[in-house]
Symmetry: C2
Subunit: 486 residues, 2 copies
Amino acid sequence: MSNNPPTRTGILVSRLQDIVGHEAVLTAKCDLAVYECDGYTIEKNQAEVVVFPSTTDQIVRIVKICNELQVPFLARGAGTSLAGGCVPVGGGVMIGLSRMKKILEVDYPNRFALVEPGVVNVWLSNQIKGNGFHYAPDPSSQGACTIGGNVATNSGGPHTLKYGVTVNHVIGVELVLPNGEIVTTGGAVEDMPGYDLSGVIVGSEGTFGVVSKAWVRLTRNPEAYRTLLGVFETVDAATNTISEIIGAGIIPAALELLDQLILGAVEQAFHFGFPLDAGAVLIMEVDGLNAGLDQEASKIEAIAHKNGAREVRRAATEAERLLLWKCRKQAFGAVGRLAPSYCTQDGVVPRTKLPEMLRFISGIATKYQLKIANVFHAGDGNLHPILLFDERDKDQLQRVLHASHEILDKCIELGGSVTGEHGIGVEKLDFMTKLFSADDLNMMIRLRDAFNPTNICSPNKMLPTAGACSESGMVSQTKPNRRAAL
Amino acid sequence: MSNNPPTRTGILVSRLQDIVGHEAVLTAKCDLAVYECDGYTIEKNQAEVVVFPSTTDQIVRIVKICNELQVPFLARGAGTSLAGGCVPVGGGVMIGLSRMKKILEVDYPNRFALVEPGVVNVWLSNQIKGNGFHYAPDPSSQGACTIGGNVATNSGGPHTLKYGVTVNHVIGVELVLPNGEIVTTGGAVEDMPGYDLSGVIVGSEGTFGVVSKAWVRLTRNPEAYRTLLGVFETVDAATNTISEIIGAGIIPAALELLDQLILGAVEQAFHFGFPLDAGAVLIMEVDGLNAGLDQEASKIEAIAHKNGAREVRRAATEAERLLLWKCRKQAFGAVGRLAPSYCTQDGVVPRTKLPEMLRFISGIATKYQLKIANVFHAGDGNLHPILLFDERDKDQLQRVLHASHEILDKCIELGGSVTGEHGIGVEKLDFMTKLFSADDLNMMIRLRDAFNPTNICSPNKMLPTAGACSESGMVSQTKPNRRAAL
């Protein structure tokens, strides 16, 4: 017989096709290219196969075949993550979850929804808003990112300050373990006994298996908002205002800072009417029962004025409020107007260190002759300095690398960390050894091994491999990248 | 030489004394008896030794000796837990944490405190109240229980409904692992990367090691309260009110139900002026900025009246408010006036199932000719039916056992669980197989093994051992018990 024996890839593809059908398996190079990276475009690799299951049972069968054939696999939502978490660094099978996009149940009296992982974040809020509810975690990418992806990265958003991050809104998950077993954690009732598996699965960046369903909380829409725009001569005045608002016991729904450089770009794009000569603006929102809000907004205004605000405007209409939020959420898109390339960093410092950290970033910009724009979740101390450059200029690129590295090291020095919400992924692996002791990291590895003992599920993510801590030269995570909008 | 070789206990005691000094090691039977059980007095066992370290380093050295000599160990806070979580079922070394009671740091601008595990819950709130802050989780035992114990059991309290349970207020821990390694998870900055170890350590009931420090959030005191007492003819009217308040989008700070039987006991004890002919009362508290509260309180009053409330009173003074809370928090103590013995159960049902569940409990009382009092965290659907009896009457005891079992089974049937806040401990081990699949339980065991691979730390707690699911007869967890005040 002239037939060649089938290749391993051939066997793999054929068996995956048996499960999901031919049209739900991609193998052509041009198709695989679509799935070779996420928003962190520096790190790319193609999967051997991309497969699109429609049910939990299909995920189980796919995972079991991967185990049988010893092929690594990983899940992918919308690919809007920003640290390479869904890059198939070791090849293998990518499990695309975009066909699992059903909102399976909405229970208003008990305030939860049961969703498949491919449900886009904003779809859920859109479906329930007529009943006066929303899904609280609101990353700027919420029009594209999926709830499964939000679970993997424990996504935040501008309203994280008051409402918490994804882990505060997920009350249970169904997880297909890397060996194909299904575990169900938590669920509709919030007080299940046993270890809090849901809590540790959220934010595990896909290294514990494939989340195939999630029970999420519904949050009642506030009765009213007051959305204020504070205009400051200097970044210092704005950051001092932040500390004083929080110190006064006010927890705004959101507290976002945009500096002069980003304001210019946003104003060009959206024509909101931002003062282009201001050093920084703060978007400050309070929400709740209408009766208390004017008092709270007045307190914020007084604090802003005391700290030297030139002007504090209130959004007069809902349309004005929504435009203000559009300016904020699409700020990263507007950065394209400032430079051909940009590198966004994601650092955290204790809130009281914000003035010092912003001054440090300003000094770094001078030292390396770079423009650095700032737009960030100020209330959380979560910075997103955006380093502007032209990637065709190798000298600029080197300066950006060094500047990024110094900024992240400073975050650690001030008692913070190197990621507030984008995760470790592949980008920041090497920083883990700066943040954690060997014992801490070993504990995390043992925890991963409890779920993923053979490391067949999304290998080489989140935790450094032994000896990965390099003392020499630049580490890969500070390479610049073109980022999707945050 | 006539000297006998030293016994293992002799070696153990001597080596522990070398670490902490003679006065911090107890071995006499009469001393050990103090530590033989917690609030679940049915299950008792004496440790071989009780040792009181003063530092993390001493805990590490104690744990290493236990490993060397292969003696099991477990930690104990104040012993106010209610499910036998700190009973040394296998003997060995009990590590009492009452000497580690320092509040090490209070950072108001960044809103956290760093405490040792033996700090009593209310001490922290007392220390910070002058600055306008408190520590939010407020179990009724807060005058005695420790923050270390709260971390172990993920304690709640009346204000859990709005403010969340312990896991929502612990941002980091230092944990001595069962092998003596120290891991530090989270810390002062909330957004640390890596797996959420803090989240999974909270509520692990001491099976992951010994928590030696905790970073906890400080919560700003609300500007004002409105505390309402709603008086209802029937339990049904009260539970319908609860559902409608939550359904209206109001999240009270607390929402507690007391039925007629418990009201009688509480009134005898504290003379608040409760109407003794009412079927049930609700304590309903809203808090926040003063400006919005009257509106919110009025909405609650309207809902209560719509559901047939005979009367809704507002606490007129802070003294009246505090007396009302004293009545609630010490209700379990007052139960001693009703019967020589009582058995408190701790079940959870979805909030919308409360009316059905309360009717079921009433039916159970009739069926088994028992008096059952109810006082509970109504807003969370967390029930505490109190079965009254005389333990000297074996027939009554049997009826209490059967009634308890039926109540917990009904909670499961309605989509709830068998513990809202007391934990599994040793009391409810056998129910785990009713709540979780074999795969779910195996995942929990693998998780425990990641922290505690040899199971030397608090063995035979929280997770059933293989084959522990008994089909025959009554299971031990439904044995009645004299409980400390909740």
